[in-house]
């Protein structure tokens, strides 16, 4: 399949195939591509920020544009780059790891992707008329008073893509609960599947807080309510609470999946079973649980009072314990292993010290008293980039190098991979390490310019130089992707020769039904178990028989277009009531799609036994 049949089918048919796909692997790739695109966009915004801050009192961009730039950078990177890329990896890999042929709700999966994409596009269309400018945290009352439609784009864009994410989370939970292969008990699931599961639960509980907050904000801005307006009896701090009740779990949604990635990469390249599997699972849950009780550590300086501050400070520090458990378990996994170092492994190894620094500054910030000094300074910027770049981005890159051969059937080029790793790694520390000190010296975050001769000049210059190194690394990675697509070395099933989990038992890339026969899982690391017993393949759990697969559908895309039109209408109906036409017709399109979906029976299709036997495995 794949290349040859795609070429035979012609461009139109291929496009149609991707627009209507409900295959979790294709949707995974779409997520990776969409997220990758927004990552480049967010990166460009970051470079513009760093150019502006390269020298004192610089005039590269105006103050207003600067505010738009930092807002869009943060929003894009969190919601449109990091999360979708993670959802992409989860989508592609998790069903393979549990031995499933698709996710539980393939239609919903596709709807989730389109909502994310159109939400992101909608948000970015704001660039033409004025982007949001109240920071990615969008605090009231600044956001309520911001003129123009920038904030409205923020609200509607995030509402759309947030709905998509919520659907993705629910889908993964149901898939993991219901669709595990015979013998795949919970405590035999690979760690990446576990972290997908727990991150999805976090999505399920955290996103509603954002949804509610955005709705209140929408009503305040568009329909004259006053939830956040103190002059009319509202309370601006409620926005902060709602945002961070979502926001702190969100940072764990970003980090847990990559904890899973590292827990796959280390055992594979150290040729050792993951150290402390049970403790790893337990620590994941503990982090998720504590992650919900610490949101007010972002609000220490709001004036919640000493009791509330102390409780949240202690809860926050407690999170360092399960995180520490994980770090030590990875180190013990490496200890005494026969280690093979390649690009995936380099990203993973680099993660450990980088992330630990981020965790350490986190504990420093968790001290409420000290936070009065750190808060809203470059120290915080240093902290969260160490955890988000040193953790999430390194993890994404490790995961991409590790699973690329599985997803696309070809190895990424090692040499290019190592060049991009080293430049990015050096650039990352150049950029962000010095920012801690800039913060301690008093440089506030989100300031457009800084003054000369206040001890901030050199630090900012170094930081900007680091950003160029990182950009270079990203460009080399892009070249690597292009090179690999054209000339990459073909990968076999067990691409690294030391795979342990089910995804390495099927062809690279997998056929669209994944498993010709569902495998019988006999323990943790099922492929490894078969290998130790001298078996080349998994023992099947069922005879070769007809496979039932879902049909593709264009409805999710049309439904999303409907919602997007409605969102546009909401944004502009404040000025001109004729825009309500867009609201009603957009919603009508979406409702008609839902009705069609509900009334039209679609039982999917079957792949016959004869066909399966013809293909071999």
């Amino acid at each position: 399949m794949g290349m040859t049949s795609a070429q035979k089918r012609g461009f139109g048919a291929t496009l149609w195939d991707w627009l209507t796909t409900v295959d979790h692997k294709k949707i995974g790739i779409l997520y990776l591509a969409g997220g990758g695109f927004f990552f480049l966009l967010g990166g460009l915004e970051a470079v513009i920020i760093r150019i502006q801050l390269m020298s004192p009192e610089n005039n590269f961009i105006s103050a207003g544009l600067y505010n738009e730039m930092i807002t869009m950078h943060g929003t894009t990177m969190i919601f449109l780059a990091a999360m979708p890329i993670l959802l992409g990896l989860m989508n592609f890999i998790m069903p393979l790891q549990i031995g499933a042929r698709d996710v539980a709700f393939p239609f919903l999966n596709s709807l989730g992707f389109w909502l994310f994409l159109f939400g992101g596009v909608l948000l970015n269309l704001s660039w033409f008329t004025g982007a949001p400018d109240a920071g990615w945290t969008n605090y009231a009352p600044l956001s309520i008073q911001s003129p123009g439609h920038g904030i409205d784009f923020y609200i509607m864009g995030l509402q759309l893509s947030g709905a998509g994410t919520l659907m993705g989370g629910i889908n993964f939970i149901v898939t993991i609960v219901l669709m595990r292969a015979p013998g795949m008990t919970y405590m035999r699931m690979p760690l990446f599947t576990w972290t997908t599961f727990v991150a999805s639960i976090l999505i399920l509980f955290a996103f509603p807080a954002l949804t509610v907050g955005l709705f209140l904000m929408m009503f305040d801005r568009m329909f004259g309510s006053a939830f956040f307006d103190a002059a009319l009896g509202g309370n601006a701090v409620i926005w902060q609470h709602l945002f961070w009740i979502f926001g702190h779990p969100e940072v764990y949604i970003l980090i847990l999946p990559v904890f899973g990635v590292f827990s796959e990469v280390f055992p594979t390249f150290a040729k050792k079973r993951l150290f402390g599997y049970t403790a790893m699972v337990f620590a994941t849950f503990l982090i998720a649980f504590l992650g919900f009780m610490v949101w007010a550590h972002h609000m220490f300086t709001v004036g919640l009072g000493p009791v509330a501050n102390s409780i949240f400070a202690v809860a926050t520090m407690a999170i360092a314990v399960p995180t520490g458990i994980k770090i030590f378990n990875w180190l013990f996994t490496l200890w005494g292993g026969s280690i093979k170092i390649n690009t995936a492994m380099l990203w993973s190894l680099a993660f450990i010290p980088s992330f630990t620094i981020g965790g350490m500054t986190g504990v420093m910030l968790a001290s409420a008293v000290a936070d009065y000094q750190y808060h809203d300074s470059y120290f915080v910027i240093g902290h969260f980039h160490y955890v988000i770049v040193g953790g999430t981005v390194f993890g994404i890159l490790a995961g991409l190098h590790y699973w690329w051969p599985k997803m696309f059937g070809k190895y990424l080029h090692e040499g290019l991979g190592q060049i991009s790793f080293w430049t990015f790694f050096v650039g990352f520390h150049l950029t962000f390490f010095i920012q801690h000190f800039l913060g301690l010296m008093g440089m506030p975050r989100r300031y457009w310019v800084f003054l000369e001769n206040q001890g901030l000049d050199t630090g900012n210059l170094i930081s900007s130089i680091g950003a160029f190194f990182m950009s270079f690394g990203v460009i080399v990675f892009l070249i690597n992707i292009i090179y690999t697509t054209i000339k990459g070395k073909k990968a076999p099933r067990d691409a690294w020769g030391s795979g342990r989990t089910l995804e390495w038992t099927i062809s690279s890339p997998p056929v669209h039904y994944n498993f010709k026969q569902l495998p019988l899982v006999r323990g943790l690391d099922p492929l490894w178990i078969e290998k130790t017993e001298g078996n080349e393949k998994m023992t099947p759990a069922e005879p070769v028989d007809e496979i039932h697969m879902p049909n593709g559908s264009i409805l999710p895309l049309i439904m999303t277009i409907g919602f997007t039109i409605a969102s546009y209408g909401f944004i502009y109906q404040t000025g001109n009531k004729y825009w309500l036409i867009a609201v009603y017709s957009g919603i009508a399109i979406a409702l008609i799609c839902m009705l069609t979906r509900s009334l039209k029976d679609d039982h999917g299709h079957h792949i016959s036994k004869e066909e399966l036997e013809r293909v071999g495995d």
């Binding site: 939970i173 609960v177 639960i201 399920l204 509980f205 807080a209 309370n235 701090v237 409620i238 609470h241 009740i245 919900f292 009780m293 007010a296 919640l304 009072g305 509330a308």
Partner: protein, 106 residues
């Protein structure tokens, strides 16, 4: 032959269970509607709010219980994981509400 017998037995057992399940659903559904009517009635009859508020909260609490245990099958066997997740959600919601009450509105 025996096989057929046993499946028939299972089927009738299943039927019985389904019927029971249906009965319970209908009863709890009826109760929920009655509770709602009571709540409305109390307000319309202008009973003093010192009584109305706690009574309505109590009714709401019971209704949520019905909703979870009967309609969302929390009580059923084989639903342990979904139940646990829902309990987690309840826990977080309660905690958030509590925090709001204590540090924002008090």
């Amino acid at each position: 032959m025996t096989d057929e017998m046993s499946t028939r037995k299972i089927n009738s057992f299943q039927k019985q269970k389904n019927k029971q399940e249906m009965q319970r659903m209908v009863v709890s559904f009826a109760l929920m509607i009655i509770f709602t009517l009571i709540a409305f009635a109390l307000v319309m009859l202008e009973v003093p709010s010192t009584y109305v508020i706690p009574i309505i909260l109590l009714l709401a609490f019971v209704q949520v219980g019905f909703q979870f245990f009967y309609f969302m099958h929390l009580k059923d066997k084989g639903h342990e994981v979904p139940s646990q997740i829902i309990y987690g959600g309840v826990f977080i919601t309660v905690m958030v509400a509590l925090t709001f009450t204590v540090i924002t509105w008090w």
